[in-house]
């Protein structure tokens, strides 16, 4: 043992590229003032050379860039490959689409980072201090306004507006009117509904209400009004938009900001935050907008008739032969939209913080940089939406029908015999839904929550597969609706009735998870892509409108998750009854939780 030479000693002796420096030399000298007290050390700002700055920034950007690449590229590649391999068509304007997708990636990267730096600090401060300093009615009123603000800032809302330009006024006048003449009021109504949902959700976990009755009481007017609208052939064409609006609202801005306020209110009231506090708001925020849009529709039908809308649209199209102003054409329009989406929310948050709370803001420069990044990201994302996602989704949607039917202007269609082509198109939709959902980061987070909630009996993987399968079947059903021109109401009513029965049978925890899982699956990439695909498909097949796929993608996971929950409860109970093995206290608890 003793005749060893230590490697370190050897290397030091050989001068192996090591130096030593005393920490004392590196430490700043301490000074004392006249009374002998130590003067606190003042640190100077460090200026780094360019290569060091690059070394810091490179991993920072590459991690965030790759996050978005992982979300966008597989979906885009799937759409492009399907077109090339099965439909034998190259993607049109492939360079523009590629550039657009790149803009989506960069825009989302900047947007998400800006959100974390610039807007979330507001959410945290307001969420923790507002409920303590202000009376409950004022807090709820601010929650309502916040709901409107976040809806405007939601990236996917731009996709709804973009969809409006493709609606043919003669075919669906009310749909055209809502998406064009009334577009701002439409977003306002959706925002107001989200705000109302946030208020209800907050009250719910303040007073510990069960989610079940809330769902029943929301479903009754929503389904009732839908049936009423379905009676009128003109109004029925807007149902798809109304039900899709629910899926658009619950995105990366709304969920964290509204939740942080809601949880803040609950904990200020001494209710603490239990596992279920966060749930429910997302559910209500995807149901209330349906009601809101349908109410707006009723208002519009009372205000103007279809003939008036068509006449107005036709006179408008002849009148605007002059070149439109710079802010009405791309790319100026996207930039104006981006600023208009973010600024009101920022100003509102500032107002609440400074005037109502009188709280100081820390790290102001970071927050301003964050806000700037959010706005720039939103503008770039909007550009990418127009040139990338909408174009790709639209062209994919427009081409899929050539698999099984004759489309004017495309040679060689249909490519396959009817049944083969139809199965191919439906399989395309199924895998699109499954693939887009399984990679959603929000779903992963939900899975972890569920796994801890059920002591590991309901695995994260099980939830992810249940939700993905639900979305896959939902999107397939939505596509089938377009192909066979089924009325949406015949899909919605049975779907939600089944969901209501399952809700009655399931335990409170699973009701929360299942209804929320519908909201988390529709992110800022899936929504525009699926919307554009549906509209492109609808235009190609001559369907009246291409909405309705997203809402089917929402109801799918609600049903599959509750079914899976019931199935695992049945299995646990069956094992308990059969007495296959000794039942422990833990297993009984798990059985009860399921």
């Amino acid at each position: 043992m003793t005749n060893h030479v230590r490697y370190g000693d050897l290397e030091r002796a050989m001068g192996g590229g090591q130096r030593q420096v005393s920490l004392d030399v590196l430490s700043p000298t301490l000074e004392r003032d006249a009374e002998g007290n130590l003067v606190p050390v003042k640190y100077e700002k460090i200026r780094l050379p360019a290569n060091e700055i690059l070394k810091i920034l490179k991993p920072y950007f590459s991690v965030r860039f790759m996050d978005q690449v992982r979300a966008v590229v597989p979906l885009a590649a799937y759409l492009a490959l399907f077109q090339i391999l099965f439909l034998r068509h190259l993607v049109e304007d492939s360079w523009i689409v590629t550039g657009g997708l790149f803009a989506v990636i960069v825009g989302l990267m900047l947007f998400m980072e800006g959100l974390a730096l610039g807007l979330m600090p507001f959410g945290t401060v307001i969420g923790s201090t507002l409920p303590k300093k202000s009376p409950l009615p004022l807090v709820l009123f601010i929650t309502l306004l916040l709901g409107i603000g976040v809806t405007f800032a939601e990236p996917a809302i731009g996709a709804l507006k973009a969809a409006g330009q493709n609606v043919i006024v003669e075919r669906a006048p009310y749909l055209y009117a809502l998406l064009n003449n009334y577009a701002d009021r439409l977003v306002l109504v959706i925002g107001f509904s989200v705000g109302a949902a946030a208020v209800m959700g907050t009250l719910r976990f303040l007073y510990g209400w069960s989610l079940k009755p809330l769902i029943y009481f929301t479903l009754i007017p929503v389904l009732g009004l839908s049936v009423y609208c379905a009676m009128n052939p003109e109004m029925a064409k807007v149902l798809g938009l109304a039900w899709d609006a629910g899926a658009v609202t619950t995105g990366p801005v709304t969920v964290p900001l509204v939740l942080s306020l809601g949880i803040g209110i609950a904990s200020a009231a001494g209710k603490g935050s239990n596992q279920l506090s966060g749930f429910g708001i997302v559910t209500l925020a995807s149901l209330f907008p349906i009601l809101g849009v349908l109410c707006l529709l009723v208002y519009v039908t009372l205000a103007i008739s279809p003939d008036e809308i068509i006449a107005a649209a036709q006179s408008l199209s002849t009148a605007t032969s002059a070149t439109p102003a710079w802010y009405e054409t791309s790319p100026g329009q996207e930039i104006v939209l981006g600023i208009r989406a973010i600024l009101p929310l920022v100003l509102f948050l500032f107002f609440v913080l400074k005037i109502i709370l009188r709280e100081p803001l820390e790290n102001t420069s970071e927050i301003f940089l964050g806000i700037a990044l959010t706005i720039i990201g939103m503008c770039i994302f909007n550009l990418g939406l127009t040139y990338g996602l909408s174009k790709l989704g639209g062209s994919a949607g427009g081409l899929v029908p050539i698999a099984f039917m004759q489309i004017d202007g495309i040679e060689g269609s249909p490519i396959y015999i009817y049944s083969v082509g139809l199965i191919l198109a439906l399989a395309f939709a199924w895998f699109l839904g499954f693939g887009a959902t399984i990679a959603e980061p929000a779903l992963n987070a939900l899975g972890i929550t569920v796994e801890t909630m059920t002591n590991g009996v309901f695995k994260k993987k099980t939830l992810i597969y249940a939700v993905s399968t639900g979305v896959a079947f939902g999107i397939t059903t939505g596509l089938a609706k377009l192909i066979f021109d089924l009325p949406l109401i015949w899909l919605i009513i049975p779907g939600y009735l089944v969901a209501a029965v399952l809700t009655y049978l399931s335990s409170e925890e699973f009701v929360n998870v299942a209804w929320d899982s519908a909201g988390v699956t529709t992110g800022p990439i899936t929504v525009p892509l699926v919307l554009a695909m549906g509209l492109g498909f609808g235009n190609a097949t001559g369907a009246v409108e291409g909405f309705g796929i997203l809402c089917m993608a929402s109801i799918g996971p609600i049903i599959t998750v509750m079914l899976t929950g019931l199935w695992s409860r049945y299995k646990v109970n069956a094992e308990l009854k059969a007495g296959k093995h000794e039942t422990t206290q833990l297993e009984q608890e798990v059985g009860a939780a399921l």
Partner: protein
């Protein structure tokens, strides 16, 4: 459990490696490749150069992971050298690595390994 099971390990140092959050597992992997038996990862947060970088500080991960492992004194310098590279600590505000002497430690050592030592 008998008294004989207790065997002290000596000539050891404790290496602690403070790295940006998310890099802890990579450091652990590098350490295992260097023959370190295992390690522990803690979560931590602190201040340092990041606060003096101004806006550039945003790009520096504030959350850190602390990887702690016991290594043989013989290999201490080599391991510190390798881990410094693996964790890319030659970057501003990335973190640091240090070693403290371990007086004695006890850990499960497989029976076979102990017998081999006795024979030698």
């Amino acid at each position: 459990m008998t008294r004989e099971n207790l065997t002290y390990v000596t000539d050891a140092s404790l290496v602690s490696c403070v790295v940006p959050a998310g890099k802890g597992d990579g450091v652990l992997k590098a350490a295992r490749d260097l023959g370190v038996g295992g390690g522990t990862v803690y979560h931590g947060r602190g201040t340092g150069l990041r606060e003096r970088l101004g806006l550039l500080g945003i790009a520096v991960e504030a959350e850190k992971e602390i990887v702690v492992m016991m290594v043989a004194n013989e290999r201490l310098d080599m391991i510190i050298d390798e881990l410094f590279q693996a964790a890319e600590l030659d970057t501003t505000a990335a973190g640091y690595i240090y070693a403290t002497p371990v007086d004695k430690a006890a850990v499960y050592i497989p029976e076979a390994a102990l017998n081999q030592l006795k024979d030698a």
